[in-house]
């Protein structure tokens, strides 16, 4: 029984959220939820669709044509040219897009290369697809950058996909154009595919222009790019995102998408239309706020510099500090005794009701770190750090 699922785990992030939800005074800086509500212009677009009576029925399996047209237009502005009719699918969030891509591109037993630390749920969907995750550590001493040569060393006959997040969650690292071009050469050389999760692309805190492998025409039949409306437009609850690639891949993904969800929630597809039509100015406001909160969190971490060391994130709304102290094992019998980051996170949650994510959840190189979400509001950030400070003083 449960052969397929017995080795799967509930994502650590959601596990921590569940634990926090049972505590009356918990403040969570764990799950990647922005503090903002969905912008009014998007809600208004949804209200209009509701009034017109167009949300009750399934959409076409790949999504509403008018939404996919808008996605094509928005991609073209970023130098990516994809046919909305055959090369773009609207999905139930980015995780469904990534699951569909993996299930379409791989066979059980294949290996999937994952630069880590990386988003926790990748590992579970790789396992769900019956594949083996192969980790390539990012270099913390070089601002968590990726060494493509190290990645190439991990390639075997079983390798099928390179699966990465750019900007990276949890480190906020942006991969350079040169690094990505090298990955592009590797996937061509070894006849591989790439899945690029770019859900944090709108929150880059310097003047850098993001580059995507999906911009390279020669790689269009090897790269699946995934985007979500959740982070950029404060729409995590709407569960809507999209994937695009060459027709040869997307038409295979479409079969998986149809089997899993039939179509993305139609009401959310109208919300996504509102986001693309009217949401740009809201994204800028969010980014300004996140920038302020990044500075706030970094200032707080500076104040606790005998306990934490960190690299200022270039993007996303996460910071991934390293714990500088050997934390005592106070919570026995919870299965996480060996992990410093788990021990710290669980004890902090128990003692001060502040939820963070243990770095071990993001891959072997994540151990000894914690992920802090600064997408939450300033009040919560300030109160959380006051509690963390108190907790550390009491140690």
């Amino acid at each position: 029984m449960f052969e397929r699922t017995k080795n799967l785990k509930l994502s650590t992030i959601k596990d921590i959220e569940l634990r926090a939800s049972r505590l009356p005074d918990a403040i969570s800086l764990a799950q990647g939820i922005p503090s903002f509500d969905t912008p009014a212009c998007i809600k208004r677009r949804v209200e209009k669709a509701l009034k017109r009576g167009v949300v009750a029925k399934y959409s076409l399996t790949p999504g509403l044509p008018e939404l996919r047209e808008l996605i094509e237009i928005s991609l073209a502005k970023e130098n990516m040219f994809y046919d909305w009719q055959k090369e773009i699918i609207v999905t139930a969030g980015s995780i469904e897009a990534m699951s569909s891509a993996l299930l379409a591109l791989t066979n059980p037993g294949d290996e999937v290369i994952v630069p880590e630390p990386t988003y926790t749920s990748y590992l579970e969907i790789i396992k769900l697809a019956g594949c083996q995750p192969i980790f390539v550590p990012l270099d913390e001493s070089l601002n968590w950058q990726l060494d493509p040569d190290k990645l190439e060393e991990k390639i075997t006959d079983k390798t099928k996909v390179i699966f990465f997040c750019d900007p990276n969650n949890p480190t906020g690292t942006i991969f350079s154009k040169e690094q990505l071009q090298k990955i592009g050469s590797i996937i061509e050389k070894y006849n591989l595919y790439a899945i690029a999760d770019e859900v944090y692309k709108d929150f880059v805190y310097d003047s850098r222009q993001l580059f995507s492998l999906a911009e390279i025409p020669e790689l269009r039949n090897r790269v699946v790019r995934v985007f979500s409306f959740s982070k950029a437009y404060a729409m995590t609850g709407w569960r809507v995102g999209y994937a695009h690639s060459d027709e040869s891949i997307i038409q295979e993904m479409l079969k998986v998408h149809d089997s899993l969800v039939t179509c993305a929630p139609v009401i959310s597809q109208y919300a996504a239309m509102g986001a693309l039509e009217m949401g740009d100015s809201e994204v800028k406001i969010f980014k300004e706020q996140f920038l302020k909160r990044r500075e706030l969190v970094c200032k707080k971490l500076d104040d606790l510099n005998s306990y934490f060391t960190y690299i200022k994130p270039d993007s996303s709304y996460f910071v991934f500090p390293r714990l500088k102290f050997a934390f005592p094992n106070k919570n026995k019998n919870d299965g996480h005794e060996k992990s410093l980051s788990w021990r710290f996170v669980l004890d902090l949650l128990k003692e001060k009701q502040v939820a963070l994510v243990p770095g071990a959840a993001f891959g072997p190189s994540g151990e000894g770190h914690v992920r802090i979400n600064f997408g939450r509001n300033e009040k919560d950030i300030i109160e959380s750090f006051a509690r963390i400070d108190k907790y550390l003083q009491d140690l």
């Binding site: 212009c41 208004r44 044509p65 008018e66 046919d83 025409p217």
Partner: protein, 244 residues
């Protein structure tokens, strides 16, 4: 209150737009249809700019009772913000004296409710119209396809005898209603009776290579985009250059 404000805004923008068009007298090309308006509009603009013409097109897909005037006046939308609308209303007045007003406006027309097209045609008088395609999209407010078709029929009938209708010959319903036009009709598509016939399309790594037969000549076009809708847009762009 909101409805009253919206009504007043609609009327203000309508008459201001009519005044601006009366003063500047641009050639108006409209793009209508249930799909592909944006790409066709952009291709027309690109083709005419390449010919050195002074052209402007609707920003985004502004094509409604508020969006169309904003397209002509070349103003952004205030969406749901009263403050932004205040600025826009003031800026709109300045467009009367706008310098370098374009010779050609390429505008989208949207029809999502019965009567939409007739209302939009009280604001502008197009000399050329392109109907891209007709599908069941936006059908929800109409009793059936025939009622939706009437919207496009009204557009066709509004064209002057000196005007030009460019229509997708691959769509049977459009093929039928184009017969009612009083003006010149130019047909595009894969259909053998098309005036601008798409002979072949080859997908390449960096886009598509299209071979068109138009005016007794074969023409090769290479575009950096993918999908049949861009092939249609390229055909329309080729036609428009001859008539604008």
């Amino acid at each position: 209150m909101k409805l009253i404000c919206r009504y007043l805004l609609k009327i203000y923008l309508k008459y201001l737009t009519k005044l601006v068009l009366f003063i500047h007298k641009p050639l108006i090309i409209v793009v209508a249809g249930s799909v592909n308006k944006y790409f066709v509009k952009e291709e027309i603009k690109r083709a005419l700019l390449a010919e050195g013409r002074l052209v402007r097109s609707s920003p985004k897909n502004f094509n409604t009772e508020i969006g169309l005037p904003l397209s002509v006046l070349y103003l952004p939308s205030g969406y749901n913000s009263y403050r932004r609308w205040h600025t826009i209303i003031f800026k709109a007045l300045k467009t009367i004296w706008q310098k370098n007003f374009p010779d050609i406006l390429v505008l989208e027309l949207g029809a999502s409710d019965p009567g939409d097209m007739n209302y939009l045609l009280t604001i502008i008088k197009p000399q050329m119209a392109v109907i891209t395609d007709l599908t069941q999209r936006y059908l929800e407010s109409f009793s059936d396809m025939n009622e939706l078709i009437e919207e496009y029929q009204n557009l066709i009938l509004s064209l002057p005898s000196s005007g030009v209708l460019v229509v997708n010959q691959d769509n049977n319903r459009l093929k039928d209603i184009a017969r009612n036009a009083k003006c010149k009709v130019v047909r595009f598509g894969f259909d053998e009776d098309s005036d601008c016939r798409i002979i072949s399309v080859e997908k390449q790594n960096k886009g598509q290579m299209i071979v068109l037969s138009y005016g007794r000549q074969e023409k090769k076009i290479v575009i950096n985009t993918f999908g049949q809708h861009h092939v249609y847009a390229a055909a329309v762009g080729t036609i428009i250059k001859d008539y604008a």
